[in-house]
């Protein structure tokens, strides 16, 4: 497929596969984004809120006891779990919220899986005085109920989505349907590096602050680049955020998908490891699909990774070989959740627990001087119920 002259492509991946009604809205968004990209006043406001509201820069933390326990390389955690609202999602929610306000939109719709993007969007909308509607699969509402309450307390309306598997995939479809219906006055605040152009680029740019900070922090603390960078990948926004500023550096980058109950089981969420290219939610990327092009059900203990697609830039980085993608199962994520809690006093979200588990197995094979940087993208308060049940507490 020759995409050299097409906008919004990363190699053969990306594009804008949407109903005609959304094309003018995406063109409007693209123009608005191009405009603010070169506007220092926008970034001044974004950075000031990053500092005073989100709490940036987030620390780079040397997990000494975890590293000792592993007995190999040193594990460094980029503490996005310390962001206001508890995950990296707020970086993007606030950036797009500011953009929505600049575009004169009064109403914001969003989807959420784990609820972290929904909470971040609800907070940003409260701060910026925007009406907020969040679509969430009813299965996710059940298993991430604290976040449902948080969204409601922040003034957002949470609408349950019952169709299909009633998780993130259906929530995105329903948010897109709402946007098609209210396209004139509504801004769609998409939470990951997925969806039609320009979302994958725009979300990455708002999240790249993670990698820029981490690069400076590692350089200033150790005088050199890390030896590995590891991040979990559902849609892939925290991973793109930390990887992007290192793409030009000689550092191996590893994305960790969810193997669920195992890659040979009926359901997992390891899109880049086990899928093949297709089109879903407006973008051409790797997908978990059956032989007839129907999207397959997924499973992960981490609701934020429970998605059959992945950002198109990840698909591109997979095919070029710049980033390696692997999968960790539910049991591995639970194991690193437990270790990080007990050894470091940090309750991590189940999503980055997949990354931490893989980082531990990498560190084990590396010398003590080695540095493995993990993006600890969110905190685990939302997962207490799931983990307690799984560990029989």
């Amino acid at each position: 497929m020759d995409t050299r002259n097409r906008r919004g492509y990363f190699g053969e991946f990306g594009g804008r596969f949407v109903p005609e009604t959304l094309v003018p809205a995406l063109e409007e968004l693209e123009r608005a984004y191009e405009h603010i990209k070169g506007d220092p006043a926008f970034w001044e406001e974004f950075n000031a809120l990053g500092r005073d509201y989100i709490g940036r820069p987030t620390p780079l933390y040397h997990a000494r006891r975890l590293s000792e326990y592993i007995g190999g390389a040193q594990v460094l955690l980029k503490r996005e779990d310390l962001c206001h609202t508890g995950a990296h999602k707020i970086n993007n929610a606030l950036g797009q919220g500011l953009l929505a306000r600049r575009m004169g939109k009064q109403r914001v719709v969003a989807e959420t899986g784990a609820g972290q993007h929904g909470v971040a969007t609800a907070a940003a909308c409260a701060l910026l005085d925007l009406e907020c509607v969040v679509f969430m699969g009813s299965v996710d509402m059940e298993r991430q109920s604290p976040n449902v309450r948080r969204m409601r307390l922040l003034g957002a309306e949470v609408r349950p989505v019952e169709a299909g598997s009633a998780t993130l995939k259906e929530a995105i479809s329903e948010a897109l349907r709402d946007w098609v219906t209210h396209v004139a006055d509504t801004y769609y605040l998409l939470g990951s590096v997925v969806g039609p152009h320009p979302y994958p680029t725009l979300v990455r740019d708002f999240q790249a602050v993670i990698g820029r900070e981490a690069r400076e922090q590692v350089m200033s603390a150790y005088g050199r680049l890390p030896d590995r960078i590891v991040a979990c990948v559902g849609g892939g926004s925290n991973a793109m955020g930390i990887f992007y500023p290192f793409l030009d550096a000689p550092v191996p980058l590893i994305g960790v998908e969810a193997a669920g109950k195992g890659l040979d089981a009926d359901t997992h969420s390891a899109t880049l490891v086990k899928g093949r290219p297709g089109v879903l939610h407006g973008t051409r990327s790797y997908l978990l699909q059956d032989a007839h092009g129907q999207i397959e059900p997924t499973h992960s203990i981490a609701p934020g990774l429970d998605y059959p697609g992945v950002g198109p830039e990840h698909s591109f980085l997979r095919n070029t070989g710049r980033v390696q993608y692997v999968a960790v199962d539910d049991a591995g994520a639970l194991e690193s959740f437990r270790l990080l809690s007990r050894l470091e006093g940090i309750l991590p979200a189940l999503e980055p627990s997949h990354a931490t588990f893989h980082a531990m197995s990498l560190a084990r094979e590396m010398p003590k001087e080695g540095l493995v940087l993990v993006n600890l993208s969110g905190r685990g308060d939302k997962d207490i119920g799931i983990v307690a049940e799984a560990l029989g507490l």
């Binding site: 497929m1 097409r6 594009g15 804008r16 596969f17 949407v18 109903p19 005609e20 009604t21 094309v23 003018p24 809205a25 169709a163 299909g164 995939k169 259906e170 479809s173 897109l176 349907r177 098609v180 219906t181 209210h182 396209v183 004139a184 297709g278 089109v279 879903l280 939610h281 407006g282 997908l287 699909q289 032989a291 007839h292 092009g293 129907q294 999207i295």
Partner: protein
């Protein structure tokens, strides 16, 4: 050669939509010949997709049920081929891009042509992304029909006028498929604007479910597409009496 022009030649075209495999595997085979008798000029055969984001609740449910019956693109091609032996009206597939992409663009167009299918409507494929499928359709004589909506710019109307084949599908409102109480007041001006930049026949769909709405749309357009209401009636009355009354009513309203 596509039969689509025949649908628009002699009268305002009535274009019903049915999801293949809903509610039973045989439904489309039984229903489409009746639709032709009742006055349809073309039929849209829906190939169900797991994530139909341009569709409202009715067609979503029909799609999930059809998939549950094991309906696949290959099965839909078979249904079309069997229908082709029994009806002379044009048949067009309506589906999403991924099942077609997964089948293979070239192979799908070749098999569609062989089954006697005249066109394809893919609501998540704007013309910028349709270059390859347009070419494959062209090679096999299958028309790729593009859509326009009320918020499409004049430039996009011109581009779709150049790229679309057979007809142009005008989405009556900004929204998803599904019966509505009223059509938007801007419908006439929307159709008028498209008319200025396109010479192809124009068919209006989304939200049309009554003889009054059908007659109003046909005042300005060349054809009218009805889907969700027909799906509801098939569900309510598997004997097709309600569907027959509905379609004959629309035919009378169109003249």
């Amino acid at each position: 050669m596509s039969r689509i022009p025949e649908a628009f030649g002699r009268r305002k075209a009535l274009i019903p939509y049915v999801t293949v495999g809903y509610p039973r595997p045989e439904t489309a085979l039984e229903l489409v010949p009746r639709l032709e008798e009742w006055g349809a000029d073309m039929v849209e055969l829906g190939i169900p997709f797991s994530d139909p984001l341009a569709d409202g609740a009715t067609i979503q449910e029909a799609s999930f049920m059809a998939l549950g019956q094991g309906t696949t693109p290959a099965r839909c091609l078979e249904v079309a081929a069997r229908l082709r032996e029994r009806v002379s009206l044009p048949l067009v597939f309506m589906t999403y891009y991924n099942p077609v992409l997964s089948y293979g663009l070239e192979g799908f167009c070749r098999e569609a042509a062989r089954a006697g299918v005249d066109g394809l409507i893919i609501p998540d494929l704007p013309h910028e992304e349709g270059v390859e499928l347009e070419a494959a359709g062209e090679r096999h004589g299958v028309d790729l029909v593009y859509l326009l909506s009320p918020n499409s710019s004049a430039e996009r109307m011109q581009a779709v006028g150049r790229h679309s084949r057979g007809f142009i599908y005008l989405v009556s409102l900004t929204g998803v498929t599904g019966a509505r109480r009223e059509l938007p007041p801007e419908l006439e001006s929307f159709v008028g604007r498209v008319r200025q930049s396109a010479t192809l026949p124009l068919a209006v769909g989304f939200g049309i479910s009554t003889p009054e709405q059908t007659a109003r749309a046909a005042e300005v357009a060349d054809g009218v597409i009805v889907g969700s209401r027909l799906i509801q009636l098939i569900r309510e009355d598997d004997g097709y009496a309600a569907a027959g009354e509905f379609i004959r009513g629309l035919r009378r309203a169109l003249g």
